[in-house]
Symmetry: C2
Subunit: 143 residues, 2 copies
């Protein structure tokens, strides 16, 4: 997602692009493809802005997620992770390695068939989330 687009989205909602928000955004932009926890974002952001507080990081991540600049998902079950939303990758899914914890991505969307079946039943499906659990190629080889 281009920075201008993000800027526009913030502006639309009359959010100010403060130094703290810039710092958080930079962290996410420099970590395309990674899935960071709030605390990880905090550590990175403090390299840019040493006094930024954890509450601000949470607030910023939530705002950016609500604007769909970021995606928010839960892998370990106790902690959310955030990643930069890239348009072409919308609706990608995840493979979580049970050995090393690595998160890899699966693109492609085979779920339209199921979704239209649900539509026929009267549901209105907005979104879906798919996670695979198993072993990544590296860990599979080591077994």
């Amino acid at each position: 997602m281009v920075v201008d687009v993000i800027n526009a989205k913030l502006h639309e909602n009359s959010y100010r692009l403060t130094g703290q928000r810039k710092a958080v955004l930079n962290v996410m932009l420099e970590n395309k493809g990674r899935h960071l926890s709030a605390e990880e974002v905090l550590w990175e952001a403090r390299k840019i802005l040493p006094n930024i507080g954890i509450a601000t990081v949470y607030r910023t991540l939530e705002k950016l997620a609500s604007l769909e600049v970021l995606y928010k998902s839960m892998f370990e079950g106790n902690k959310y992770r955030y990643e930069l939303a890239e348009n072409e990758k919308h609706h990608h899914h995840h493979v979580l390695c049970l050995a090393c914890g690595q998160i890899s991505e699966v693109s492609g969307d085979l779920l339209h068939e199921l979704e239209s079946k649900l539509d026929d039943q009267g549901y209105k499906i907005i979104d879906h989330e798919l996670k695979f659990y198993g072993y990544c190629p590296t860990c599979t080889r080591k077994q």
Copy 2:
């Protein structure tokens, strides 16, 4: 899942079928198809065994989940829910209504194609989890 099977599973692992575990099991058996939180299980179990503690409920739910007598999943994001595992329904998936919170079930498994694609890439996929978010038929009609 039949009670005898559960009994056998417990026995195999030399777990004792105590009054507390019976109470939790009864709660789950009487709530087939529902997805209960630990606290909800506690309230129900206390109707049978008034002094059962929350720690024991957690311990029992975890044990039963590890034996695959129960399935454990997270819907709201902050709280796990447990449901009785029924063999024929293995790998069913969920639709979460964004309006009323109702959880309904989807059977069918269209994911083998994706899983075999991942296998080709060297992954060893053990399990998957699929959630749909949207509106249930009732809430869709009300809109």
